[in-house]
Subunit: 132 residues, 2 copies
Amino acid sequence: MKRNSRLSLALHTLGHMAAEPDRMRTSADIAEHAGTNPVVVRRVLGRLRKAGLLNAEKGHSGGWRLARSPQDITLADVYLALDESLIATVAEEDTPNCAVEHALHRKVSSVMADIERSLIERLAATTIAEMK
Amino acid sequence: MKRNSRLSLALHTLGHMAAEPDRMRTSADIAEHAGTNPVVVRRVLGRLRKAGLLNAEKGHSGGWRLARSPQDITLADVYLALDESLIATVAEEDTPNCAVEHALHRKVSSVMADIERSLIERLAATTIAEMK
DNA sequence: ATACTCGCAACCGTTATTGTTACTTGATGC
DNA sequence: GCATCAAGTAACAATAACGGTTGCGAGTAT
């Protein structure tokens, strides 16, 4: 079983959508292409829908489509929509009784926050239109 | 249950050791201070021993001690010794049949690799002597 | 009305991690 | 030599996260 497959699935799907923005795709179609399950697809794309990146329509000829122009969706948008940090956070101690621990946590958290900002900056430099 | 507590435990312990480098500490002492189990301590510190950061001695008056000067051990040394990436890697597809997927994987992997290098660089700028 | 699709809740199987027990190995003190 | 102490290690349980799966409800087009 793979970890962090949510971002992979999301980007993969949006990459194809960027190539044909007008085509409506069902969860079943996407799932088959990605080798997974329609429910998993809906779970992941549902987050992108709530973030305003995708529209979903029910019923006949329903399915998923981009809510914005492909040039207007960056990899950072997708990353942030999934709310799934690729940067691990260091657990805060419940009882910060120890000065060493507190200093370490501050230091490492500061570094990790910088790294996360840097990652988002890098991801924001690429749109899904470049990935089709 | 906390995740990524290995690095926290390792840095916490080494921070205290940096303050009193000559004092020998047993797994039981460390575990009690850190609120965990001696076996867990040995598991984590064992990696640091294999990486040459710590020495362990058995028997009476045995225990753990720094193998190097605290000024000569950086946070990056500890991070690398644990071989536990805080930066998630994006899963490679078994069958790279899809061009979109391949392009995305290359792009994201490249960004993540840069971020990992940047993290290590940042961690290497601080020694455990500054954390005591 | 029927068929199709998303939305969502509930559950199972797998995996990763920590916690725990028990035992072995090696060093020290008597 | 022998008891004691501590690391080393294997084995297992407990917990949590995640993907996969089933089932059902809600909404829409034909």
